[in-house]
């Protein structure tokens, strides 16, 4: 089952000859000049241009020298001694972000004129920019800082007082604006209009007094506001959540995916030592373009909840839960489970688990000879941008591995009923809370065997006979399949707290305690075993999935990747 987009032959593209800094290259028609320069290895500095947004051409940082072929008397380009067209250079600089390449075009990205233009633009931009890099959260990933070092002056010639603008503007529930730092690139304005479809931001006043603000009476509070923090080239827009928490140069970047809904936006986790500080979207044009929603982005603080389960717990004779060694916990769980027949046991898994963990769940159910296995479905309201109605990140994976039958959750009622009537004596609950399924604490406490794996305490763990502390999404490796059928990887960014362990390891050891050694030592072994069992995953391995994932099943839900008006227009245009 392959991606339908790869099966259709790509339409023929016209290639144009363009000279970049004296070297002739070929670029497909429709390429932006600034992109052509980047492809030719000549980076042109830019503030307002963003490949996923429209180009207003207002920062003037990407000024270059441009020329078109010199036309002879016969209206044909004159050719020089090398057989290439002679270029007529335009005497004034041009912005490279708002123009497409043309046949015979000449570009100079580093000529004296271009250099002087950049230096001038930098000086103008820095006139009113405050010198507060030590307290600015953008420092370290600030374009203004970087280009100032690379292209700017070493000191300021500006003696007058700087223009003062509002600071600490509470733009919305998640965003703080510092107008003095703003360089009026308008990326945020365009993003919220074009991608978030919420025209909430704009500029007021003129000249040096131009100020970014939310429309009067409006709060900048849509579900995509934090993307503006990512694209802001300076520290004008900062995230209330990440503000002053950690300097970006300390953050270790781990490529992972968001696990808050079925979309599975590609992310970069920023962590330092044992703490995760933020996650930012990572470009993947098949999943999330370059964006992610605020809900998913901020849904990681539970990893550092002080209530996290950090040691295996065992129900004692006095009915309290006491921490024990892992070995003891596994032995006790296995001993308790062995006392019941397969039809007296139920396994409730979660579609928030990775494929590897779900596969191990399947093996656990086999080891228990238990057929009553299901996962808990979880839905929410979808929007038409990124957020999916399916709030489980791995529903497709659970379906592919055949856990819970054709429709997820169809056997839950049977399990609940079985527990109520006393037909089921033992429940293995993995990452879910049974009280949400209508089983109150009293019923759960009467179960002679309730093995609960979780990362946070809930009604189920409080009633459990054995509690196994697992790992959060940033603490483990594994793979998930999103609603579009794309297999993607999670990566390990931070260590699990205390004695908590990788979920797949817990399941492996539990199976081992039940049936003896199973030869699985690394998560790669689990994936290998899984790919041998599941035909859709045949020939794959964790490393073959890559950072951008691979399509393994057909789309369960058809969903457009957010596109700019320009991208939509070019896609529709026949070339």
């Amino acid at each position: 089952m392959s991606n339908p987009s790869t099966t259709t032959a790509p339409p023929p593209v016209q290639l144009l000859n363009v000279q970049v800094d004296g070297v002739w290259h070929q670029f497909p028609k429709g390429t932006r000049v600034i992109e052509a320069c980047t492809q030719a290895g000549k980076y042109v500095p830019r503030y307002c241009y963003h490949p996923k947004l429209s180009s207003p051409g207002n920062c003037r940082m990407c000024l270059i020298e441009m020329g078109m072929p010199k036309m002879g008397a016969d209206r044909k380009p004159e050719t020089g001694a090398d057989g290439k067209p002679v270029i007529n250079w335009i005497p004034r600089p041009q912005i490279s972000c708002a123009q497409d390449v043309a046949e015979g075009m000449g570009i100079r990205t580093d000529s004296p004129m271009a250099q002087e233009c950049r230096k001038g633009v930098m000086e103008f931009l820095l006139i009113n920019h405050p010198l507060d890099c030590p307290v600015c959260d953008q420092a370290g990933e600030c374009r203004l800082q970087e280009f100032s070092v690379e292209y700017g002056n070493d000191s300021s010639r500006f003696l007058e007082e700087k223009v003062h603008k509002p600071k600490h503007v509470d733009l919305g529930p998640r965003i703080v604006l510092d107008d003095e730092r703003c360089i009026l690139c308008s990326r945020c304005v365009r993003f919220t209009k074009e991608i978030a479809k919420d025209d909430a931001l704009g500029f007021v006043d003129r000249g040096s007094y131009s100020t970014l603000t939310a429309h009067p009476g409006r709060r900048f509070d849509n579900n995509y506001t934090l993307n503006t923090v990512d694209i802001c080239p300076v520290g004008a827009l900062t995230s209330k959540d990440f503000r002053f928490k950690m300097r970006v140069w300390f953050l270790k970047e781990t490529r992972s995916i968001c696990t808050s809904c079925g979309t599975g936006c590609n992310t970069v986790i920023g962590s330092r030592e044992e703490t995760m500080y933020r996650q930012t979207p990572r470009e993947n044009n098949d999943v999330n373009s370059a964006w992610m929603c605020d809900y998913g982005r901020l849904n990681f603080h539970y990893l550092h909840d002080e209530r996290r389960l950090t040691a295996p717990l065992l129900r004692q004779a006095d009915h309290t839960l006491q921490p024990v060694e892992w070995r003891k916990a596994f032995a006790t769980a296995a001993q308790q489970l062995r006392e019941f027949k397969g039809e007296e046991i139920a396994v409730v898994a979660s579609a928030r688990m990775t494929n590897e963990e779900l596969y191990m769940t399947r093996r656990l159910a086999d080891a228990l000879k238990c057929s009553l296995v299901d996962v808990v479905p979880r839905t929410g309201e979808a929007d038409d941008i990124l957020l999916s109605a399916d709030r489980n990140p791995n529903t497709s994976g659970a379906q592919l591995l055949g856990i819970g039958g054709d429709k997820l959750g169809s056997r839950l009622a049977e399990i609940v009923e079985g527990v109520r009537t006393g037909k089921i004596h033992a429940v293995v609950c993995l990452g879910e809370d049974l009280s949400e399924q209508g089983l109150d604490a009293k019923v759960l406490e009467e179960l002679p065997c309730l093995v609960a794996m979780s990362i946070l305490p809930n009604a189920t763990t409080r009633a459990a006979t054995v509690v196994l502390p697992g790992s959060g999404f940033a603490e483990k490796r594994g793979s998930m399949i999103n609603v579009k059928g794309r297999l993607q990887r999670l990566n390990h960014a931070i260590p699990s707290p205390g004695d908590a362990r990788d979920d797949w390891e817990i399941l492996r050891d539990l199976i081992q305690a039940l049936t003896g050694s199973n030869g699985l030592y690394m998560i790669e072994d689990v994936f290998k075993a899984m790919s041998n069992d599941v035909s859709a995953l045949q020939g794959l391995s964790l490393s073959k999935i890559g950072d951008l994932g691979v399509q393994v099943v057909t789309e369960a839900e058809s969903r457009e990747v957010p596109k700019t008006p320009l991208e939509t227009a070019t896609a529709a245009q026949p070339t």
């Binding site: 010198l131 030590p134 307290v135 002053f244 928490k245 950690m246 300097r247």
Partner: protein, 176 residues
């Protein structure tokens, strides 16, 4: 291209090596005898005799935070010293200055600032990298303690050592 250096030819006496051993022994024994006779006097008997009055202005002792004459703690928790510190002795927990504070415009301050003096190597890179003139190496060199915890200088201790420093740039007052 490899360059071969012609070594000077050795005389028989030099080749034997043994005479050189004895002339070396003579040198070391001369020093030994001079010390025994009290002719050389170089070492200083430390706790009784101290070199404090001779410490040069650039002497690198314990790093400490300073406040300026307005009573403002100059550190804004930019964490550059934490970044540059070769033995990773510095740990900073940044925080936001509360609304209504006298120095609210500075926005950021260190909630906690710890220097582990067991780790500190007195290199002075923290002082050099500080964009706010907030951390200076003082002349204290006898940093002692009876436990590891005692050897961690917290913010209070750092301000106690650093005290007040005048004559610094006031960019937050002037430029904003």
């Amino acid at each position: 291209m490899a360059i071969t250096i012609q070594r000077p030819p050795l005389t028989l006496k030099e080749k034997l090596y043994v005479p050189a051993i004895f002339s070396g022994l003579a040198t070391t024994l001369k020093h030994l005898v001079n010390m025994l006779l009290g002719k050389t006097h170089v070492a200083m008997q430390y706790p009784e005799e101290k070199w404090d009055s001779h410490l040069p202005s650039y002497y690198r002792g314990a790093p400490a935070l300073v406040k300026d004459e307005h009573g403002r703690e100059r550190c804004v928790a930019c964490q550059l010293c934490e970044f540059i510190c070769p033995p990773r002795a510095i740990t900073i927990k940044p925080g936001e200055i509360a609304e209504g504070d006298k120095f609210r415009k500075v926005e950021k301050f260190p909630q906690a600032f710890d220097i582990d003096m067991i780790r500190c190597i007195y290199c002075g890179l923290c002082e050099e990298v500080c964009p706010e003139q907030a951390i200076f190496l003082q002349k204290q060199y006898a940093i002692t303690g009876l436990s590891r915890a005692e050897m961690v200088h917290d913010k209070e201790k750092l301000y106690e050592i650093g005290g007040l420093k005048t004559g610094l740039v006031h960019k937050w007052n002037d430029k904003k």
